[in-house]
Symmetry: C2
Subunit: 319 residues, 2 copies
């Protein structure tokens, strides 16, 4: 019997066929009791509360198909959601993914996107437990992450107090440097380009920070200055950052190659999804955390005691 | 002091301004302990499990701006997610909403969309507890709903047994009839057009069905035949539907006006988001549920004992 050529695009295989294909060899989350295939999934929430966040990525706005491989896009989409869960001091339990794509999207693209998402979900100790697949003229990936607090109090942006230490876990500015390298056509600067394509947030550091008594925490998605600004505003405090604590030889090397200012990347670049937190002054910082500044009475964020000139990071609907 | 003209579009007000505007007078969900404004929200999950589902709506694919008001689009987007929670026998606790829109989207549009979503969320006893707002060339609304099982076992599609009664709660086919009326330019057929624009699923009926021992349940989003087909396949049974039990005077009236076949709407139309469930034969159906058929040994779905000719309902990526 001749079944004709194997399907090559999502339109040829159809919605249900694509869903069957990408869920067939799925690794389950340890937290799931009902996975894909019913009206909804069921995840454990042993704490009696669930932490939830959502982020959407739009083609040509948050990623470019000529600059990122599909698996990198998948990594990035999951990472930015999982980082928000970690920033509350919670552990990821699972993700749901809504994907819109043009009918001529290849099954190879979907397979690789799904692999990137699944691998990063596993890095965060979770899995994709449900989703939706629809047609649109451009690719849109919308992800919701869920997490469990494990009897910890959620670490909010509003708890920083004057005298607290400001610290970060993970890299800063490398994603922005990678974007600059791509725009400059410098595909040889792989350290920073890889950071842009597929950030690797330090999820476990969010939980250790919560356990060590972090007073406030956020992931760095807009920029260090912008996200510390959110903490400062929510907490009613000022934050001063020490530039010398933010030195990164990888950024310095890229800055030399691109004749750019590494300080601008580290302060105003987003999308590395590092974690920034404040700790009481007497606390020994957990492993992976580095002191970068101090909480003071007042308002706003300063760098070495002065306002930073220049833009302060990403906002939607700006050009 | 002259601040210039008031902002009129999302680009003029900016991402953070729009979020502040639509969350300012937000009604909180009884289940939320942390709402919008931090890295993630925190919802109660008293059962120790959380039910989660996601659905995405794309402009010109799932709604048309010239056929639906923004508040109707909002109702529909929330309703289709909340119906999936109800179909598991769970109660909605909250929603997160990711919205992509063009920069020239008016604030009036966003306000009305948000009002429709918030009103329908309240109808389901929940609220929008978080979200994301991004730029895209078309409108895309991606919603994730969470719910609590209240110590009930989730009602899956796989539990139907031969001898069970098949029943529905809510209307069938009216959304599809409304779509036909709109395509025919018959805006006077408001009963069915309203059903198309803003379905009103019977959320509470999902919980009463679970309490009464429903063996399988699904919302009717693709079509009655397709969604009963999912139950039949998952349960390894056959289902026979009695056409006489599906009569609806509202559909009959619309069918006469449009010279259409009401049976086609009721059997193959989706998007009313009624609930379909199977019950043990000795159970007295809860209020709001109507018997429409019977579970038998075998496979597939029949109508009055025979296969239904014609298409069986919605799939993405079909023309």
């Amino acid at each position: 019997m001749d079944n004709g050529p194997a399907p090559r695009t999502v339109a040829e295989l159809g919605e249900f066929g694509v869903i069957e294909r990408i869920t067939r060899d799925r690794r389950a989350s340890p937290a799931e009791s009902i996975g894909p295939g019913d009206d909804a999934a069921v995840l454990a929430a042993p704490d009696g509360r669930v932490v939830v966040t959502t982020d959407m990525l739009v083609q040509d706005r948050h990623f470019r198909l000529d600059w990122s491989d599909p698996d990198d896009i998948g990594h990035k989409a999951i990472a930015q959601n999982a980082a928000d869960i970690a920033a509350m001091g919670a552990r990821v339990t699972g993700f749901v993914v809504a994907l819109a794509c043009p009918p001529d999207t290849t099954l190879d693209f979907v397979d690789r996107l799904n692999k990137g998402m699944s691998d990063e979900a596993a890095r965060a100790d979770g899995a994709i437990v449900g989703g939706d697949l629809v047609q649109a003229p451009i690719l849109v990936i919308s992800i919701t992450a869920m997490g469990d607090l494990g009897d910890r109090a959620p670490v909010l942006r509003s708890g920083a107090r004057p005298g607290d230490v400001v610290a970060v876990a993970g890299t800063l500015g490398r994603s922005d440097a990678g974007w600059a390298a791509l725009r400059a056509g410098r595909r040889d600067l792989t350290d920073v380009i890889d950071a842009h394509r597929a950030p690797r947030p330090p999820y476990a550091a969010g939980i250790t920070a919560a356990d060590r008594g972090a007073t406030a925490m956020s992931d760095v998605s807009d920029s260090l200055l912008a996200d510390l600004g959110h903490i400062a505003t929510a907490s009613g405090v000022a934050i001063d950052v020490a530039l010398s604590a933010l030195a990164d030889p990888v950024l310095d090397a890229a800055a030399r190659e691109l004749e750019a200012d590494a300080r601008q990347w580290v302060l105003t670049g987003g999308e590395d999804h590092a974690l920034a937190a404040t700790f009481p002054p007497d606390v020994a910082l957990p492993e992976g955390w580095t002191t970068i500044g101090r909480v003071e009475a007042g308002a706003g964020v300063t760098v070495d005691g002065a306002a930073w000139s220049g833009n302060s990071g990403w906002q939607s609907f700006t050009v």
